[in-house]
Structures are given as C-alpha cells and as structure tokens.
C-alpha cells in the first residue's frame, strides 16, 4: 500500500513538476526561486498526500499552493525593495542565440507586457494561455467567479494588444 502510494506521488510529480515550474517561473521570473517554490509545493503535497482523493483535487490544490507561494515571494521581494532579476532571462537569450534561434522583438515585448500585469491578472493569463485550463478550473484555483475570470482574461488580452499597438507591431 505504501509502495502504491509512493508510485502515485512520483507519477504525479513527474507529470506536474514541469508545469508548476512554468507557473512559478512566469510569476516570479527567476529560475532558482521558481524551483524553490515548486519544491515547497511538493513537500506540502507529500505531507498531505493521504487527504487527496483524485488527480483533479491534487492539481487544483497544487496550483493554489504554487500561486500562493509565488504571491508571498513577490510580496517579500517588493517589501525588501528587490527588483525582479532579469539575469535568467538574459541567460536564456544567450543560450538561444547559441542555438541560432532568433527571438522576435514582438515576443520580448509581450513578455514585458506580461511582467507588468498585476499578480491576479498574470495568474489568469498564465493558467489560461499556458496551462490551458478552463475558466471554471481557474475560478476554482483562484477562488473567484467564472465571470470574473472570463472578464479578467479578456481585459488582459485587450490591454496587451493595445499596449503593443496592434497591427503596427506585426500583430
């Protein structure tokens, strides 16, 4: 029984570690901090593993934990007056250029726009655009109404599109 449970946790970890890293990284914009957040999320999940009844419950719970830890991290960073570290992003650009992949200006501009979103807006955008969750799932994770999630997602897309200047920027 213990082994069966262990396998289930590992299977879940294998499926979700990368996903949660994506969420955490997009929230805090730093590789090491994102890793720490994911690790802490899974430690909490491991401790509470017996309480979860199905994958959906675990994933919702883990998304919540990851996001809450990210919010806490952002608050702390803001309180301490530490600016978001762009080093990781610069490093990745270097790696990409080494791999001869050309990153378009528009992608960089979109990234900056996403970084400027409020944590709540960013959450909805990340969960919808990258995690491809439904409005209903996002509402469950963020403890909001489906209508609020829907409206937020629309406002975010509209805002980014307007700030990028629409077709002038090749959109």
């Amino acid at each position: 029984m213990r082994d069966e449970k262990k396998i289930t946790f590992e299977g879940f970890y294998k499926d979700y570690a990368g996903k949660l890293y994506g969420v955490a990284f997009r929230m805090v914009n730093n590789r090491q901090d994102a890793m720490d957040i994911v690790q802490e999320s899974f430690i909490r999940a491991y401790k509470n593993w017996e309480k979860f009844r199905n994958e959906s419950a675990v994933s919702t719970w883990l998304y919540k934990i990851t996001l809450n830890l990210s919010y806490d991290f952002l608050k702390k960073r803001s309180r301490d007056g530490i600016l978001p570290i762009e080093k990781d992003f610069e490093d990745r650009r270097l790696d990409i250029s080494e791999r001869d992949i050309i990153k378009s200006d528009i992608v960089d501009s979109i990234k900056k726009e996403i970084d400027n979103l409020t944590p709540k807006q960013k959450t909805v955008f990340i969960l919808k655009c990258y995690e491809e969750l439904t409005y209903e799932e996002i509402a469950r994770i963020t403890n909001s109404r489906v209508g609020t999630v829907k409206a937020t997602y629309f406002q975010v897309l509209q805002k980014i599109r307007k700030n990028l200047g629409g077709k002038k920027n090749g959109m």
Binding site: V38, I43, Y46, S104, I110, F154, L157, K167, M171
Partner: protein
Amino acid sequence: MVCKRYERLLVDYLAGELSQAEQEAVKGHLKECSKCAGLFEEYRNLLEKSRQIDISVPEWQVWEKKLSEIKAVHPYRIRLLKPAVAMVSLLLLISVFFVRMTDNEKGKVARTGKNGYGIVLTKLPYPEKTILENIEYIDEESASKLLDVVLDTPVFTIDEN
C-alpha cells in the same frame, strides 16, 4: 469599427470556451466582417507569440534529485485511516481487549477456612469489578450465585494453610 459584442466572443472562441452554436455564430460572422476577422487574427497572433516565450524547464534529472530531497524532508508519514475503517478497527480492538480480559482474568472464589468464601479476583474490565472487589468474604451459595451470574467461573477451594 469592430462589432463590440463579438470582441469578447472572439477571445472566448480562441480560449475554446464557446458552445457549438456560439462557435458557428462566430465563424459565420468572421466570414462577413473583415474588421472582426482582423481583430481575431491579432488576438490569435498575440496568443501564439505569447506561447513562444521560452522558459527552459529544467531536465528530468534535476527534478529527480529534487524528488529525493522532498521525500527526505518528510520521510515518515503517518497513515491516516478513513473514518469508517478507523471505526471498524476501534471496535475490533475493543472486542479483542474484552475477550482477552475475560479469558485471562476471570474471577476466582476460594474457600478460606474460617472466613468462608472470598473473592480472589482483582481486575475486571466491566462494572462488576466494583461489586466483586467490594465483597471480600461471602458464603458459598452467594459466591456461586454471583459467579454464575457474573462470570460463570467455577468455584474451587484452597487450603488456607
């Protein structure tokens, strides 16, 4: 001018959140309205480009190492029983306890010579314990009656010397 009521629908359409009927309505409208079709392309491109932002997820080996660290933090987990299982387990435990007690610690009555019959019993798990412990010496008939009723234990005699 973009048709206002369609702008939100375009976003929901790209989000895969429309019903079949709504999707058909949007598709039909896009064929007829070039401005909405242009806006639709803008949103579609925006999402496509957003997904091109690279985040370089660490390799599995990194996560594998982290996994052992996660387990090391909390190596001993206490298995929490579901309420129903816990209740059955508790009842079984109580039953075993009582059976064991009645088998091993049945009361005994001994003839003690000049004092007649005495209760040798010292421990019992039920209320009768009090009665038995309080009656130190009783006559043979009472002792037999009491033991028949309470414990169904044979009366035996011992030599006080």
